[in-house]
């Protein structure tokens, strides 16, 4: 069906390597799902855009060819094919839909542009398309604007649009990465069903081996623009041949928690009856106030890690921000080491520090990283010389070169930046470290390294960590205790091994059941 033969794509001269893709060859037959899996920079998304003929400016095909049904694609051939014979689903369903057009108009556009069907026929087909992707209220969805739908519903609309003209090939570029885990499970099931029913060939780009295990018939593993291993899903996942594939699979954290550690009972952080409501102010606001935290009570033992897991909107990030003092709760009490949190910024700095999610936004791009680590102690009165030498020591502690203190953030990779963020937090010698999704922006192998670093630091320094994550696999590996949150309420909490092995609350059960590839990968 689709054939990619020794395809090479060049990068602009300023890039870190010459070729984005180097001799990529694969076949995709009808009724098959091929997963292209790799870390960031592996060239998997470039592969998708090359097939669509939508390479970004600066990239160019220098060798090889792409053919569809025996016809070689080049130049103007693509316009006729896009949408009609090749459909595409993007990662971010919000930006892929026009926010000012009703969903129905956007779907109808597919037929208006590509066919000469009448109005009534198009309307009927639009409705059928939305019914087919399982939207709860297809009539209502046609009249809705994209922002009125949830992320999962928008992604269903995108799939309906991509399949509108019954293309032979569907390209999905990380279609579930922006979705919650339960929604992801539903969308993966939907793609599988539709593909079976219509016999569509699906090229599925992902970084997540769990997703691969759920959906793939065949797998191609990419590293730095080269396909290093290709084969049937079962073979690649169970008996990987290439060392890179083995390393990637080994880096996927297991969902099963290690045996519990012995912990003392000293409570370093106590949260009692915390309440936070958003959007209640103002008489003219039509929006219902949202209870982000509804009577949350938790406790963190000294030297342990308390995980807070949940999907988007569960209130876990609000909890982190309240504990970190970045948000003031409406009611309730936060006690650190037995004392209520002080109001003053300086006093609080010694008690709680935070590691942020986005390694690119959490460091000031215009200041040397050593300064950013040392400035906290300096603000609290440590002399400059001493603060800088402590910063050097911390850099070595988190696995960086002490001389790197005089560099700027852009000279570091994402994982290294996250290490600097950890060093910055540790410089204040806090009683509690709040880590808000600290590894979710990182590739799986880098993620494993940062998690290992956190565990190592905890063992050496006796850190107490409040660990916020949406990823149950990560939680299983790093946490001693875990609290599951849903719509601002802690629905279940206890030792991570117990909660994950025998979940009591139905929501915990559905979360665990939705973890992709739980049966096959990292078990």
């Amino acid at each position: 069906m689709l054939r990619v033969e020794s395809l090479s794509v060049s990068l602009p001269p300023t890039a870190d390597r010459a070729l984005a893709l180097d001799g990529v060859t694969f076949d995709l037959s009808a009724g098959e799902i091929l997963c292209v899996v790799g870390e960031s920079g592996s060239g998997k998304s470039v592969t998708a855009s090359a097939i669509m003929g939508l390479l970004a400016p600066g990239l160019a095909v220098v060798a090889g060819e792409i053919s569809l049904g025996g016809v070689v694609l080049r130049g103007d051939a693509w316009r006729a094919l896009r949408g009609r014979r090749i459909g595409m689903v993007f990662q971010e369903p919000m930006t892929a839909l026009n926010p000012l057009m009703r969903v129905g108009t956007q779907i109808a556009e597919m037929w208006r542009v590509h066919t000469d069907l009448g109005r009534a026929e198009i309307a009927a087909r639009s409705l059928r398309a939305l019914e087919e992707v399982g939207l709860p209220d297809p009539q209502g969805a046609l009249r809705a604007y994209p922002h009125q739908l949830s992320g999962g519903q928008r992604q269903r609309v995108m799939i309906a649009m991509a399949l509108a003209l019954e293309p032979e090939v569907l390209i999905c570029d990380e279609p579930t990465t922006a979705l919650d885990v339960t929604t992801q499970a539903q969308v993966l099931t939907l793609i599988r069903e539709l593909q079976k029913r219509r016999g569509t060939a699906v090229l599925f780009i992902t970084h997540d081996f769990g997703v691969v295990a759920e959906i793939a018939d065949r797998v191609a593993v990419m590293q730095r623009g080269v396909i290093v291993e290709q084969g049937a899903a079962a073979d690649v996942l169970e008996t990987p041949q290439h060392p890179y594939t083995r390393a990637l699979l080994a880096a996927v954290p297991a969902l099963q928690a290690p045996p519990p550690r012995v912990l003392n009972d000293e409570r370093v952080l106590e949260i009692e009856g915390l309440v936070k409501t958003y959007g209640a102010r103002g008489m003219l606001r039509r929006r219902q106030p949202v209870r982000a935290l509804d009577d949350v009570s938790l406790m963190l033992r000294a030297g342990s890690t308390l995980g807070v897991v949940g999907e988007s909107g569960s209130g876990k990030s609000t909890l982190a921000r309240c504990v970190a003092g970045m948000l003031r709760a409406d009611a309730g009490l936060i006690r650190v080491a037995g004392e209520p949190m002080p109001k003053g910024r300086r006093a609080a700095a010694r008690l709680v520090q935070m590691v942020f999610q986005d390694p690119y936004a959490s460091l000031n791009p215009r200041r040397r990283v050593g300064e950013q680590v040392a400035q906290g102690p300096m603000a609290l009165g440590t002399p400059r010389g001493q603060a800088m030498s402590e910063a050097r020591a911390l850099f070595e502690l988190v696995g960086l070169d002490a001389e790197a203190v005089s560099r700027f953030p852009h000279e570091f990779s994402g994982g290294q930046r996250q290490r600097i963020g950890i060093a910055r937090a540790l410089a204040m010698k806090p009683r509690v470290l709040v880590a808000d999704e600290p590894v979710s922006a990182l590739d799986v192998s880098v993620q494993a390294q940062v998690l290992a670093l956190l565990r190592d630091l905890q063992a050496r320094l006796g850190l107490s960590i409040l660990f916020i994550t949406h990823d149950l696999r990560v939680a299983a590996q790093i946490c001693d205790d875990v609290a599951v949150m849903q719509r601002g309420v802690v629905v279940e909490h206890g030792p991570v091994g117990t909660v994950f092995a025998a979940p009591k609350h139905p929501y915990t059960r559905s979360l665990l059941a939705s973890v992709p590839g739980r049966a096959k990968v990292g078990a």
Binding site: P57, Q353, Q357, A361
Partner: protein, 276 residues
Amino acid sequence: MRALRAFLHNPVAVAGAVLLGAVVLMALVAPLVFPGDPLGLAGRPLQWPGANPRFWLGTDPSGRDIAAQLFHGARISLLIGGTATVIAVVIGIVFGALAGFYGGVVDTVLMRVTEAFQTLPNFLLLLVLVAVFGSDLMTVVIAIGVVAWPPVARLTRAEFLTLRERDYVAAGRMQGLSDAHLIFREVLPNALPPVIVYASVVMAVAILLESALAFLQLSDPNVPSWGNLIGLGRTVLRSEWYVSAIPGVAILLAILGVSLVGQGLNDALNPRLASR
């Protein structure tokens, strides 16, 4: 360094830099080329350019050397442009930074003040200030700075509004840093590039405003500014038009230079825009 290289690879920016450099050079060599008082009487009034080899750009209605006034005028124009821009940018950054960083009541109060200044026509406000405080050069420069800051404040505020939400600002707050440190060391350096670009617009406007004042003979008559020379030529505009035209062209080229440099800076400091 990367920004500098991008700037030097941009022909438009280099052309602007050459024009601006020429004006700076004129200002620097003025006392060497024309050592005497540029406002002193030099010869018979209203000699056409080239008519007398001593005055290669001619003389004005009072018999003063136009070339000498042009060279010394470059110093005045740069002085006015530079100083007024510094005043406008400093006021604008302080207002914008405080409003954007603190938000809430501070923002409301400061922005209403900014709007009050913005709704008055610039030139009218300038006329009032000069009428009240007199028209010696320093007063004129300060008055121009005082009318030109509101757009700088709005721009700085807009940058601060997005930058203050960055995680590194939150991290700084959690490290116990003072607000002053957060504003000036964490946020401001990241907010500066668009403000620097806009400063070139302020500089061009400042030079123009002074010329307009001088044309109405409301600027300082005791300095050899380009605007004053245009004003002098107004009475003889139909017969000896060169008196106004020569400084007019000088202003045109100087402002063109400033604008092109500004555009070049914009392209160099915003690499994503430059590639379009």
